[in-house]
């Protein structure tokens, strides 16, 4: 099953922001990891750098899975209780 990152509507602004945030972090961490590992691929720093990439990649994938397969915005129940927050503004996209 191929997961398309472009689709999957985020209902709330907070989720949309998180999606973007995670994508940015992933990009940043991949670049960091490549830099750190240039010296020594077996160093602890290199291991940790790629582990961070894995962590945020998985977080992004989890979010994508929830939005596209379950079709549920993770902020749904939070926003029911706190509709006035910035995060809970409904997306126009």
């Amino acid at each position: 099953m191929t997961i398309n990152a472009m689709g999957g509507g985020a209902k709330y602004k907070g989720t949309q922001m998180r999606k973007k945030q995670l994508s940015e972090i992933i990009k940043k961490k991949v670049i960091e990891a490549k830099q750190v590992c240039e010296g020594d691929e077996t160093s602890d720093e290199c291991k940790v750098a790629w582990d961070e990439v894995e962590e945020v990649s998985q977080a992004k994938a989890d979010l994508r899975l929830r939005l596209e397969v379950e079709k549920k915005d993770p902020l749904e129940s939070f926003c029911l209780e706190n509709p006035e927050t910035e995060e809970c503004k409904v997306n126009d996209d």
């Binding site: 990152a5 994508s23 992933i26 990891a33 750098a49 582990d51 990649s57 989890d62």
Partner: protein, 409 residues
């Protein structure tokens, strides 16, 4: 007597509620004690002078604890969704709490992500030079204390590890559920935690399949490339092999996912060979079998009665040993393309603990859009879910632990 009080061996916190008899109390495993209160001389809390009923689930509680070792994130994995679905009801994050909580709660089950027991957050791990896989990044004492508490009916304030920020957030309250699932990298690492588990599962993904899945997962992200995906897997491998992989010998069931043997050079990981390795002699767990328990069977269901499309389906079943333990292995290679293939296969499996004919098929169809719905991963995850339900029912009804013997021909 002018006071309502209840004495329990456990804390009174959130498993006990005090209410007037007008409320109905549903559910099992609850002791009800009725105290009669005369009008209080201190003016009391103002509620009526009727009797108060105190219900406590401590001391009698039988939270069943399941451990699931997986390297695929937590609480949100497909396996967990299938498992909670078997028990009915959708699993949701705790309502109104931290939106980045990893916890999932349904009617019967609560799924806890073991990353919540990280002793080091992302910055801390970077400073110390340890990955999340390293035991030094995890607080096993706290994990043990809290799982033990929940198991004995006491609610706990469990930390939250936020995967987006990489920080440890303020704790959330976890009330003892009927079934607690602890999912993550180290459910069986610590011996004390291991001893609390009523059943444990290890999801063992082979390197080739892991690579193929991570490509599918990450290639859509602009930051990633084939090289970065491969580098990430390679860099984590030493810690994975040292700390995570050794847990599989403790698991009651291992789901091993390998590349198919039916299609030469299938690199995309689309067709899978999946092996369900089941330990013999586990309390309340009778391994699934094909046709004749304890024998060795090779079975290709496709033929005259069932037409399958390429590459077809191949089953294998037989006894074996796994890290010194007696096991039974049920293996499926290939894919289901149609509903009737699935129901045909289901009808030939034994000890699958279904409550009605076609229950496995029905569960698979319910989640047809989940990954693995057309192969052994979905099939075996669903079956393990049913076995866990069976185990739960046996434990809570106090049945004998001895598995039923099939009548020998």
């Amino acid at each position: 007597m002018s006071v309502c009080s209840a004495y329990t061996t456990q804390s009174l916190n959130s498993t006990c509620s005090i209410s007037t008899p007008a409320k109905t109390h549903l559910g099992f495993h609850q002791k009800q004690v009725v105290f009669y209160r005369r009008s209080s001389k201190r003016g009391g809390s103002g509620s009526g002078s009727g009797p108060c009923v105190i219900t406590c689930s401590a001391g009698d509680s039988q939270t069943v604890v399941i451990g699931l070792a997986a390297d695929s994130g937590c609480g949100k994995s497909t396996f967990m969704r299938r498992l909670t679905s078997v028990f009915g009801g959708a699993a949701e994050p705790p309502k109104g709490g931290n939106p980045d909580s990893n916890t999932l709660i349904s009617d019967m089950t609560t799924v806890i992500c073991l990353d919540d027991y990280h002793s080091l957050d992302r910055t801390g791990r970077k400073e110390k030079g340890v990955t999340a896989l390293d035991p030094r990044a995890n607080d096993f004492d706290l994990m043990y204390e809290q799982v033990k508490a929940i198991k004995s009916g006491v609610a706990v304030d469990k930390p939250i590890y936020n995967h987006v920020t990489g920080l440890l957030d303020p704790p959330e309250l976890i009330k003892p559920p009927k079934i607690l699932v602890i999912e993550g990298l180290h459910p069986m690492f610590d011996e004390r935690v291991r001893d609390l588990l009523d059943f444990s599962i290890y999801l063992d993904i082979s390197n080739e399949v892991k690579f193929a899945w991570k490509i599918q997962r990450d290639m859509a992200e602009r930051g990633h490339s084939l090289e970065s995906i491969r580098a990430s897997i390679e860099a984590r491998k030493p810690d994975f092999d040292a700390y995570i992989d050794p847990q599989k010998k403790y698991a009651d069931a291992v789901i091993e996912v390998l590349p198919t043997q039916l299609v030469p050079d299938d690199n995309e990981g689309k067709v899978l060979r999946v092996r369900l390795i089941m330990k013999e002699g586990v309390k309340h767990f009778s391994p699934v079998y094909l046709f004749d328990e304890g024998s060795t069977i090779s079975w290709i269901p496709c033929g005259r009665k069932l037409t399958c499309s390429y590459p077809g389906i191949k089953f294998h079943y037989g006894p074996d040993t796994y890290f010194g333990n007696e096991v039974s292995i049920l293996e499926m290679d290939g894919q289901f393309d149609r509903l009737d293939e699935l129901i045909y296969v289901e009808s030939h499996l034994s000890n699958i603990s279904t409550k009605f004919y076609g229950e496995v098929t029905q569960q698979m169809l319910k989640h047809a859009d989940f990954p693995g719905s057309n192969n052994g991963t979905g099939l075996f995850q669903t079956i393990v879910g049913l076995k866990i339900r069976d185990l739960y029912e046996q434990i809570t009804s106090g049945k004998t632990a001895a598995p039923l013997e099939a009548t020998k021909a």
